[in-house]
């Protein structure tokens, strides 16, 4: 039997961090493979307009930016396999990655699996996804033209979703469990000024009402416990993210929220394994910080491969 092919670096996840790692690795002459389960971009692929990634003065949509990052990395020889990783052995020599497209081997691994929207955890939530329950206003907002929608959350993404939906929907009702938004100041004035945005403070969604598709929500006041029914056509859930670290749990050290513990070197507790992008413990999760991680990971991997780490 022939020896299996061993890549210098396998990047798990094709978001901005992943493809930047692939770009730097390929340009450093490393034999590089990206494993991506669906498409380049990760969370960014569903972002309608990115205005805070420097160099695109008119903004750029996330999917196009992702495709360009992929094409750029591939121009220097990085490869992409559309594979779902089922299991990894990160301490083996070489490291082993079992996927839907076969088994791959690598000397170093960059874990760039990102994060996903956090769910409310209510009964029926999964079944109603796409039938009134949504997690991405930029993706699904157009379906609610002229309708009434609820946005749950109080952070930047909830505020951005409410603004976006207010331009499409007839009415937007923002439901937040506190009495003030956590979103940065820039959002407050436009939200308050919008004619068709209402606020339900100190409230949580207690129940999703449905007849096969969503018909409304039951709200509970967190102070009084009083429950009210709010008819609506859609509910956009924007209550933060959870890291995609199920795959590495038990091998890599995670913090209490499930993020991989790593500093700006991106090094994890296992030599030759790096945490890139939103999946890593860090104060700010943005495209610009994800791409920085990608570059740092390759720098550390080169040292490791040279035997210097």
């Amino acid at each position: 039997m022939s020896e299996p092919h061993v890549y210098d670096m396998i990047v798990v996840g094709g978001g901005p961090g992943g493809y930047t790692a692939a770009l730097y690795a390929a340009r450093a002459g490393l034999d590089t493979l990206v494993l991506e389960k669906l498409s380049a971009g990760g969370q960014m692929a569903l972002t309608e307009q990115i205005d805070n990634y420097p160099g695109f003065e008119e903004g750029i949509d996330g999917f196009t930016l992702a495709e360009r990052m992929q094409t750029q990395a591939e121009r220097f020889g990085a490869k992409t396999e559309y594979a779902q990783v089922d299991r990894m052995d990160l301490t083996a020599v070489p490291k082993v990655l079992e996927t839907s497209e076969g088994v791959f081997y690598a000397r170093t691994v960059a874990v760039a699996t990102g994060a996903n929207p956090r769910e409310l955890g209510l009964p029926g939530e999964a079944a109603l996804t796409g039938r009134g329950v949504a997690y991405c206003a930029a993706c699904d907002g157009m379906r609610y033209k002229g309708k009434t929608v609820v946005v749950v959350g109080g952070g930047n993404s909830a505020a951005a979703d409410a603004m976006l939906l207010s331009r499409v929907a007839k009415k937007v009702i923002l439901v937040h469990r506190r009495d003030t938004l956590r979103a940065t100041k820039i959002y407050h004035a436009p939200l308050m000024q919008a004619q068709n945005i209402e606020f339900r403070w100190n409230s949580v969604v207690a129940e999703l009402l449905q007849d096969g598709k969503l018909t409304g929500v039951k709200l509970r006041d967190v102070n009084t416990g009083e429950e009210t029914t709010l008819p609506c056509d859609g509910v956009f859930i924007s209550v933060g993210r959870k890291p995609a670290t199920d795959l590495v749990a038990g091998q890599l050290t995670l913090d209490r929220s499930g993020y991989i513990v790593a500093d700006e070197t991106t090094r994890t507790n296992i030599p030759g394994v790096y945490a890139v992008g939103d999946v890593r413990t860090k104060p700010l999760r943005q495209v610009v910080t994800a791409v920085a991680d990608g570059a740092a990971a390759v720098h550390m991997a080169e040292e490791y491969l040279a035997g210097g780490e």
Binding site: K37, L38, S39, A45, L46, Y82, Q84, S100, G130, D140
Partner: protein, 107 residues
Amino acid sequence: MAALNISQEQFREMIQGDKPVLVDFWAPWCGYCRRIAPVYEKIAEEYGDRLTAVKLNIDEAEQVTEEEGVEVIPTLILYKNGKALDSVVNPGSKAAIDQFIREALEK
């Protein structure tokens, strides 16, 4: 072979055939649809000997979309001899599409 965009009329004719036809109900404004597009092209190539993969823009095929009961996009439906074998809504990975096709072809 690349996945071609077809019309309602082509849809009605194609699905009658003995060779299975995989239809991607999509729309240009749908973000999820864009995400599966590169993988769908790969599927069209990989399964080219066993099925024909096509795309139907629901904005240009309102009648068929309603007849087929497609309420959420992207929806993939596999047809053979005029019948829908199975469907999958908003698949999250190429692996999920692979599994859907494998199981639907056995029906």
